[in-house]
Amino acid sequence: MGVSIEVQNLNAWYGSNHTLQDINLNIPANHVTALIGPSGCGKSTFVRCINRMHETNPIARVTGTVRIGGLDIYADARPVEIRRRVGMVFQRPNPFPTMSIYDNVAAGLKLNGYSNRKRLDEIVERSLKNSALWDEVKDDLKKKSGASLSGGQQQRLCIARALAVDPEVLLMDEPASALDPVSTAKIEDLIFQLKSQYTIVIVTHNMQQAARVAEKTGFFLNGRMVEFDSTHKIFTNPSDKRTEDYITGRFG
């Protein structure tokens, strides 16, 4: 089951660049939340703060509070534990090229020393089914490398890899931006099916995509969150002028 995320006064920097300014936000459990906004507005930085990936960059810095299911991830936890609970899918598919499809999916579990062969087989199968890839790869799970798949399949493989560790939150940083429309549609279907089990936060450039998959939408601009509301309200009757300008295509 997914958990909710509460963000209070979150500020983030890259060097001297103040990329996130005073973000306050409650992301509900078991919903899809979309973050939209022009390039460089801080949406990717925001999701990277939720699993503490932001700080892997040596010049990055964060202040503020993020609670995942009540746990203050910056005060009371180590990054490693957080990332075991919060899965992430990146903009460009990044399967491990030296591993088979099976090992790619099992990577998160093997990394953490999980070695029950039979259970691993089940988990790999379930994750690949959940990411709608099973039928396409079931015959060469251990024969083919993760890099031998097409771009769309690779991205679904990465989703399967994230799902295999059974995360409470799934972060997706523009998961379909490098894919063709058919693969994008598959990923969107997938997001729709997954939300009953996970809290999903998806960053997207594509406003139609946000409208299609998300119940809640947040609009970011220049490092600030301008508006956060139900997707329906954001796209039909936004309360902020800037949101309206953006969604009607007047800028960005």
Partner: protein, 414 residues
């Protein structure tokens, strides 16, 4: 010009004339001459008129100068403009012609520089084969795997210049033992240095540390030899060797019969320091070539730093790291001076790593000046030939592996 071409042919063909058919090694020599000739001919035929050009360069410029102007200038408008508004600079530049000769001369000179590389390698190989003929004719391939037994003691006489018995076994053995010993010490250290530099080094330390690592490669090997002789060997003799002998003597690898401290182990350690910068800097290069997205993919799964490096970096870079190690091996195989100073220079085979030995490179350096019999000299050259072939193969193999990683194979995800 015809004379020059004839000269070239004569120079290239001279070894052909010297061929004496019916002796062992002839086919080998003939092959080499053919290769040499082939390289020369192909290179020359690739250049349109390269040979001719050398002679014709100067007159050609004059021909160009005597031409009044390029053809286009003769059209009515151009001619009018030419007569009316020729500045001094324009006249000067027009008088220079089209510079085709100078261009061609430049091309020929640069091509000759490039060809010289082929020629140098071919000539080295030719000389090594040529000068080792005597020993090759005497013992053939047996030189590399058998030795004459002493009639009295039954002990193998590997290297006996007095009676003219030569075998390469102790030197091949010594080269292999010292080289692999050096890799045993250097690889973990070098990979550790590379991991630190690429993954966890604070910015201010990165430049000095990588500079120091590279600096290790720039120190002349005689300095390493001196350091090893005066610092390392006494340390081994006083502290390390007795301890090794006491604790691991039962394996037979650390016998106690050598009180000098010289030997395979000392050579291995000094070689390790010498190959460290090569392995380390190349490993760093291939690790830097691993895309950042791979590191993030592993981190996002909840990996610790070490797990990230193991799964995201080392695993992806492993082929290149193997290449770096093999390149280090290439250096260790051929390293001469430092090894010569600390290995003890005894043409014998010992199981104990603390015993004296000799390597292929060290025996050549050590004995060549004093080798008065032709057979002795020829045997040394043949060892050199073997070393040459092995080092070239090892280096080609390593370069291919590194190239495969840093260029990015088609199947890589970025």
């Amino acid at each position: 010009m015809a004379h020059r071409a004839a000269c070239t042919l004569w120079v290239l063909g001279r070894p052909l004339v010297r061929l004496q058919w019916g002796k062992p090694g002839d086919s080998c020599e003939f092959l080499l001459v053919c290769i040499l000739f082939f390289i020369a001919v192909t290179c020359l035929s690739q250049l349109p008129g390269s040979l001719k050009c050398v002679d014709r360069t100067v007159p050609e410029i004059r021909v160009a100068q005597s031409l009044p102007e390029p053809e286009a200038v003769h059209s009515p408008e151009h001619q009018a403009a030419a007569v009316a508004g020729h500045s001094e600079i324009r006249r000067y530049l027009l008088a220079r012609g089209n510079s085709a000769g100078a261009d061609r001369l430049f091309k020929v000179l640069m091509t000759l520089c490039a060809i010289s590389i082929f020629l140098i390698v071919a000539l080295i190989a030719y000389q090594l084969v040529d000068k080792s003929q005597m020993n090759w004719a005497r013992s053939g391939l047996k030189f590399f795997y058998t030795a004459v037994k002493d009639p009295v003691t039954g002990q193998p006489q590997y290297w006996d210049p007095v009676n003219g018995n030569f075998s390469a076994i102790p030197f091949i053995y010594g080269t292999l033992v010292t080289s692999f010993l050096s890799l045993f010490f250097a690889v973990p250290l070098a990979v550790g240095v590379a991991v630190f530099l690429t993954e966890m080094c604070p910015g201010f330390l990165r430049a000095p540390l990588s500079f120091l690592t590279e600096l290790l490669a720039a120190i002349p090997s005689i300095i390493y030899g001196l350091w090893a002789l005066f610092i390392l060997v006494p340390l081994l003799r006083q502290y390390a060797n007795p301890v090794l002998n006491k604790t691991l003597g039962w394996t037979g690898l650390f016998g106690s019969d050598n009180p000098t401290g010289l030997g395979y182990l000392a050579s291995g350690v000094i070689l390790a320091i010498m190959v460290l910068p090569i392995i380390s800097s190349l490993t760093r290069e291939v690790m830097t070539a691993v895309p950042q997205s791979q590191r993030e993919a592993v981190l996002a799964l909840g990996a610790t730093r070490w797990e990230m490096i193991r799964m995201g970096v080392l695993r992806n870079a492993r082929i290149g790291i193997v290449g770096a190690i093999i390149l280090g091996l290439g250096r260790a195989l051929g390293e001469t001076m430092a090894v010569l100073m600390v290995i003890g220079n005894t043409p014998e085979v010992h199981k104990s790593l603390l015993a004296n030995g000799a390597t292929m490179a060290s025996v050549i350096a050590n004995e060549f000046a004093e080798a008065f019999s032709d057979l002795h000299r020829s045997a040394l050259v043949e060892i050199g030939l073997a070393l040459f072939v092995v080092t070239i193969i090892v280096n080609i193999f390593a370069q291919l592996l590194i190239w495969a990683v840093t260029r990015g194979t088609p199947s890589r995800a970025h």
